[in-house]
């Protein structure tokens, strides 16, 4: 709804909430791009700077929490205003977690720089990261534009991230079996892949808040899940591998 509130200061509060989310989201986007670039180039300085950038994201979350609490207490929002405040509050929480995952990726990049590089795993991770980056950008655009269809598209992309995570998991296990000296590097890469997969999940959450904010209800169908890594077992004795479906 475009019309203004009778109390103009209320409009300004909600605008400020949107602006803070946009700033927080923008910073998360930049952090993710920097973390991936640092990983691919084994750039420890950039990785360290990226990890440090998470502090600003945490501060923004605290600012959003305080603003949302103030709006709830002072304005007692109803209908879409209520949904905007709740979506803002929850989105800030998810972005904060996203920041934590990126910081963890950056820290592992510093550790990885002291190991030998592992096959093409960093490239697969970069591919996975590219999808997650697009999802994050699109969900933030959908949030700002109140575009539920765009948010639904983002939500459907998460299955691709999950599938890449599963295949990366198998790939890295194989490297570890081939050469135990790669275990340290591969373990860090596994966690980095897991972090990206979790970021995808948080982006999906945000997409659902956008849907709720615009349409007044959460999206109906359960979202597709493609992460099979929790069920994956690769045996070395017989040389074969299998995916346990139980």
């Amino acid at each position: 709804m475009d019309s203004e509130h009778i109390v103009r200061a209320y409009d300004r509060d909600l605008e400020r909430l949107d602006n803070l989310i946009a700033e927080m989201g923008g910073r998360a986007e930049t952090m993710l791009a920097d973390a991936v670039a640092a990983l691919v180039r084994r750039d420890t300085d950039k990785a360290a700077r990226t990890a440090a950038a998470d502090r600003r994201i945490d501060a923004l979350e605290a600012e959003i929490d305080a603003l949302a609490m103030r709006v709830l207490a002072l304005r007692q929002p109803m209908a879409e205003d209520l949904r905007v405040v709740i979506a803002g509050l929850k989105t800030a929480g998810d972005l904060e977690r996203i920041g934590d995952y990126i910081r963890n990726m950056a820290n592992r990049t510093v550790a990885l720089s002291r190991t030998r590089s592992v096959g093409g795993a960093a490239q697969t991770i970069a591919r996975m990261a590219a999808i997650v980056q697009t999802m994050l950008k699109n969900v933030l655009d959908a949030y700002a534009a109140r575009d539920a269809d765009k948010a639904d598209d983002v939500r459907s992309r998460d299955a691709d991230v999950d599938q890449l995570h599963t295949s990366l998991f198998r790939e890295l296990l194989t490297y570890m079996m081939e050469d135990p000296r790669q275990i340290t590097a591969c373990t860090h890469l596994l966690f980095i892949a897991k972090n990206l997969e979790r970021i995808g999940d948080h982006v999906t959450n945000i997409a659902e808040y956008v849907h709720l904010m615009v349409r007044g209800a959460k999206p109906e169908e359960g979202r597709p899940k493609g992460d099979r890594s929790s069920f994956t077992v690769i045996e070395s004795e017989d040389g074969g591998d299998r995916e346990d479906q139980s």
């Binding site: 019309s3 203004e4 509130h5 009778i6 209320y10 929002p77 109803m78 209908a79 007044g216 109906e220």
Partner: protein
């Protein structure tokens, strides 16, 4: 435009909104139903064909801007509008399925079944005791002092006032505080064993503490009575009611589970009103 309040939203919103089970009552019996209810004061129309079902043992809130017809609607439900000169009522209102305008309906008996609490507490210029005893006496509900005593005590207790006034039942009703006076009026309404209690902005003259007491009381009373409340406070409507009807320019624009009206209203006019926008 038929608005069956208990069902209108099931199709429109699906099951996504987490509406507590108590709110969506698929088998809620309808206590009062209005069909094509039109009211005019002289040649000025006030209600333009209201179709609304009021579920039994629920709190129904009527919200809307001043002059939207919500108080007129409320007064129709126990034929208080009969007392207003030049007021014409057309259409059908049923209480438990019976037309309240049918020939032979005793209006005094109707108002005993459908009691009313007004915006401004209006105790009679009598003692606390007599304020509550008055109704049962004129309706012949109490024989003798003992029965009257019992009704007065039970009613004051239900209204959450007994502890505060038990040692001064002979004091004038007007000596009480505003909030106490309003609870006295509720006790007076309860004393004649009504089935429905209509409340016209019952808290608008009260401070937040007295308001909270009345709201708590409304919640308790809804187990035994059907309550219809007109309120200008949307927060109050959201707190006390299970169903809400939004009135605008003499029509019911939207009616349904309270949660739906306040979290995801469908009509643009409802959205503008509940969010405090320029509609």
């Amino acid at each position: 435009m038929a608005m069956a309040m208990t069902t209108a939203f099931e199709g429109a919103l699906g099951q996504d909104l987490a509406v507590p089970a108590a709110t969506v009552q698929t088998v809620a019996t309808t206590k009062i139903a209005t069909r094509d209810l039109c009211v005019a004061y002289g040649d000025k129309p006030a209600l333009l064909g209201i179709d609304l079902d009021i579920p039994a043992h629920r709190v129904t809130a009527l919200i809307g801007p001043s002059g939207c017809g919500k108080s007129t609607f409320l007064r129709c439900l126990n034929r208080m509008n009969d007392l207003i000169e030049g007021c014409r009522v057309a259409g059908r209102i049923t209480l438990d399925g019976d037309d309240i305008h049918a020939r032979g309906v005793d209006v005094v008996a109707l108002r005993a079944r459908v009691g009313m609490v007004f915006q401004k507490p209006n105790p009679f210029p009598k003692s606390i005791y007599d304020n509550v005893a008055y109704g049962p006496r004129i309706h012949g509900l109490a024989r003798g002092r003992d029965e009257t005593d019992a009704i007065v005590h039970a009613s004051l207790e239900r209204a959450g006032l007994l502890d505060e006034v038990s040692d001064r039942l002979g004091a004038p009703g007007t000596s009480l505080s505003g909030g106490q006076q309003q609870r006295l009026c509720i006790a007076r309404a309860i004393a004649v064993a009504p089935e429905v209690i209509l409340m016209d902005e019952p808290c608008s003259a009260l401070d937040p503490i007295a308001t909270a007491r009345i709201e708590g009381l409304i919640d308790e009373l809804s187990r035994d009575y059907t309550i219809v409340i007109v309120t200008h406070s949307m927060q109050q409507a959201a707190r006390v009611s299970q169903t809400t009807a939004f009135f605008h320019l003499g029509e019911v624009v939207e009616a349904g589970p309270t949660e739906a009206i306040f979290t995801a209203p469908v009509d643009e006019r409802t959205r503008a009103y509940v969010t405090g926008r320029i509609g």
